[in-house]
Amino acid sequence: MINIKFFADFRERAGVASLKLEQSGETTVASLVETLLEQNNDFEFLSSKNVLIAVNQTLSASDAKINDGDEVAFFPPVTGG
């Protein structure tokens, strides 16, 4: 099971703050995104250029490997401070 989280604008567009996706074996963030896009048009924002990815709360690239139990978050560029 992969725990997926969305924040800020992405959370609103997805219509959910988090969801779980069944996953057996190792995969990458990029293929997880493909799966999400196939599932639901609401995730279209994931194909935009300005998507930040965190795997287990560390900023990562789309080729990052993920396994069962991992937490993957998608969010827009940050604007704190």
Partner: protein, 155 residues
Amino acid sequence: MMIKVQSADFCVGEEYSRLRQNADSDGAIVTFTGLVRDFNQDGSVSSMFIEHYPGMTEKSLMKICSEARMRWELGQISVIHRIGHLTASEQIVFVGVTAKHRKEAFEGAQFIMDYLKNSAPLWKKEGTLSGMKWVDSKTSDEQALTRWYEDKQVS
């Protein structure tokens, strides 16, 4: 190192005193406080909501402070970032750094703010006359990082 992500306001005087009490043989304290502006990209701002990624925000701020310590000899470091609802002119962020000399303290504090703005998972939503709107990230904030690029980067 003290990292706090909280909805409550903070008192700069108290934070300064805490830094000073623990500054040991340091000769410099630099503090920075960020406030909610009443004017942004699309006009006047009456209120603001700050969302964050619980857990990762703290982790990311710790990482930024550790990176600052690798570059400069710093004493105490305090970072406070507020979340939730804020109104114009309220305090949002505090960074305080102590060091032996002013150069390290100034640069350390500036480095922490520059990286916080670009990598800590926090998002502002502003309340304007036309409703609530997520704030766009600024390229000027990204450019501010390039001055630190000669060495290692925080990812």
